[in-house]
Symmetry: C2
Subunit: 106 residues, 2 copies
C-alpha cells in the first residue's frame, strides 16, 4: 500500500497509468508520450508501477505490453476510505493520549 501511494505521488507515473488504463500498450508507445524524458526513465517508472502492483506486464515478441491493474487502485481508494476513520490502532492512540493528558493534569 505504501508502495502504491509512493508510486502515485509522481505525476509522470500517474500519466503513464492513465495511458494504460483502458488498453494495454507497448513500452515504446508509452515512452513516446513523454518527450521531456528518455525511454530509459519511462522504463524505470514502469518498473516502479509494476513493483507497486499498479500495472502488469505481458511479453509479446520483443515488445512488453503494459496494462493498468485497476483492482489495485480500487484497493487504494478503499484504503483512503478506511485508514483514518477506523482501526483498533487509532482507537488505541486516542486512548493513550487521553491517559497521558490525564496524567499531566494530576
Amino acid at each position: 500500500m505504501d508502495a502504491a501511494l509512493k508510486a502515485l505521488a509522481e505525476p509522470r507515473r500517474r500519466e503513464i497509468l492513465r495511458l494504460v488504463w483502458s488498453q494495454e500498450r507497448p513500452a515504446t508507445d508509452i515512452a513516446d508520450h513523454f518527450s521531456e524524458v528518455t525511454r530509459s526513465a519511462i522504463s524505470q517508472h514502469l518498473g516502479v508501477l509494476k513493483d507497486a502492483g499498479l500495472v502488469t506486464e505481458r511479453r509479446d515478441g520483443t515488445r512488453r505490453l503494459y496494462r493498468a491493474q485497476r483492482a489495485e487502485i480500487k484497493k487504494l481508494r478503499k484504503f483512503l476510505d478506511d485508514y483514518w476513520t477506523s482501526g483498533l490502532e487509532r482507537l488505541r492512540d486516542v486512548a493513550e493520549s487521553a491517559q497521558r493528558d490525564k496524567e499531566k493534569r494530576q
Copy 2:
C-alpha cells in the same frame, strides 16, 4: 493535489493525520507519539501537511493546535475516483495513440 498525495506517501505523516483526525491536538502531544524521531522532525511534517491543506493550525497561547482537514482527504478520494476514468485529456491521449498506430501500419 500533488502536494496532498506526496504528503500521504510518507507513513509518519499518515500517522500524524490519524492522530488529529477526530480531535485537535497540540504539537507536543503529537510529537510525543513518535519516540523514534525528534520534535523538530514532527514539526516539519506538520508543516508539510499544512502546506498540503491536510491539516489546519490554530494558536492558543504558546500552543499550536492541529486538526485534520477532512474535506481535503475527501477531495483526494474523489480525485482517485475520477482521474483515470474520465477527462478530456485521457481521451485525447487515446485518440493520439490510435492515430500513431494507424500511421505505423501504413
